[in-house]
Symmetry: C2
Subunit: 345 residues, 2 copies
Amino acid sequence: MTVNRQWLLARRPTDKAVREDFEYRESEIPDASNLAPGHVLIRNQLFLHAPTMRNWMDPASNSFYPTVGIGNPMLATSAGVIVKSNNPRFAEGQRVTAITAWEDYTILNADVWPVRPVADELSLVEAQGPVGMNALTAYMGVVHVGRPKPGDLAVVSGAAGSTGSIAGQILKILGCRTIGIAGSQDKCDRLVSELGFDVAINYKTQDVEKTLREIAPEGVNFFFDNVGGDMLQAVVENIAKFATIVLCGQIAGYNDGVPVPGPRNMMRLIYGSVRAEGFLLGDFEEQIPEGTRQILEWIRAGKMVHREDVRSGFDSLPDTFSDLFTGSNDGTLMVVTDEEARTRP
Amino acid sequence: MTVNRQWLLARRPTDKAVREDFEYRESEIPDASNLAPGHVLIRNQLFLHAPTMRNWMDPASNSFYPTVGIGNPMLATSAGVIVKSNNPRFAEGQRVTAITAWEDYTILNADVWPVRPVADELSLVEAQGPVGMNALTAYMGVVHVGRPKPGDLAVVSGAAGSTGSIAGQILKILGCRTIGIAGSQDKCDRLVSELGFDVAINYKTQDVEKTLREIAPEGVNFFFDNVGGDMLQAVVENIAKFATIVLCGQIAGYNDGVPVPGPRNMMRLIYGSVRAEGFLLGDFEEQIPEGTRQILEWIRAGKMVHREDVRSGFDSLPDTFSDLFTGSNDGTLMVVTDEEARTRP
């Protein structure tokens, strides 16, 4: 490749992100002849689409990462290979996952931005799939933030999604009874048949608050929330004494630029002695090797399944990203821009 | 006494509780000749007024305790003496704090309802004052729920109140910098001069969110919230990474029958990796001796002050209760109906 293909943010979306929010550009490969200390040049080979990227497009979201400026390359969760390094932790040829941008080549300071080595036994698709950002987020949220007890009645919202499907399976492995909430009958069927949830609730056809009251009259002990808003409200109305709510995401609000409010009745959290706790994967940098090892072990033992939806082609990045918000992906959504990303080295 | 004076709930208040919401009645002293197992007859000598009692009057509050029925005696936090007992843990003559009712005599099951012995070295006023329900609530919320770190910037809402004033002093003892929020200049002056807060904010004349941003640009690490609503919102907008919010009360909503909603932007809690946790004093029954001992030690060492506002007379119960919501009390508000309650045995 002699050019650096890029997708720039052309305007701020007001609803779901669409193709027209981005602009294609070909620029020069960044000059890495004189890298500053700590910096690396990465050749991106795979891009993972995560709902939280929508927040990176909107200053009102108070995103943890800086908002993408208009005319700048879209920030992205990616995987690729180090082409040049002035960082002692990364050698040339080292494969990594990182937060880079929708472009072929990125220079960044690997001491500041998250760049993590990929183990030799994994393809880049595997590194961003079963042990990728979403799966590790589920692991940290359940195991280290929520710490459920065996026998807990656990609810997962966005349960068919990339993070929720892993969270639900981990909860099951840890001995919880699991209820998954998803937005179609197909997804609900899969929650039970493939992902081992005990019960699935279709929020598009069922009243979540009422259904929970019927099937879990003793209350919900553990809630892993990817959605927020009405889902959080419905579960809070059914929360058990001493329950835990893991605040993982608020996808309900990612597309309308309006922050998602908390539950309507905070007294529920007081009377229930409920703990609600937010987190980011980055809080658990030290636990990532443990989480990676544990998830791979569960998958190899047949206790966990992971489904990827891997597409191809740099051109398709904006269109595939919007698929994330229409729910037309089937598993963790990735775009491979170098077919090498699919295979182990 | 040959009659059992009572204040019954006459109607459900729609705003602040007033005298007309209650009805005075004289009935017979309850027959304790054949007490069921576990039950005791208590002669009430002192009533503590706590904001949460407003929730006991309103079914919409989802109160932890059952809502008081119309025509029933008003539920109350009290202190008194065991007159008759069919409970091996309580002898006749034992002084206790309890949740009883606005009446001279109460029969209850002491194995189900909270009844706690009062140590010999304390008057009943002291038992419901410096080491009473409100003070112990502050202790459990700070020490066992919140667990602040020395150096934390800690904010307390309702800081001049019975619980908030103790919470602020404990936070200071534990090495935090403390900011108190209260509703008058007098109260704010006292927060600093008497209770040792580093800074006080008057929410009636100052914009809490903006003021916090100016005086605490590094963010709030610890929030002890008695108020909820706008106060919670203002602090959440200034919350620091890895902060803790102790959900102690939501007095903002106790008078209007409308539940107080959570913060408007839950993503703040996610990006901030914030823990928000509710609790009730009753969760920490086992830690009450420790809390009592510790608070008395701090008071004796001159590290903590406690202010009581002790009134007299059974007749005054409804009027003094409404003083709680106009802020015209000066310290923990109690009504003594037997002057014995003021002295040690």
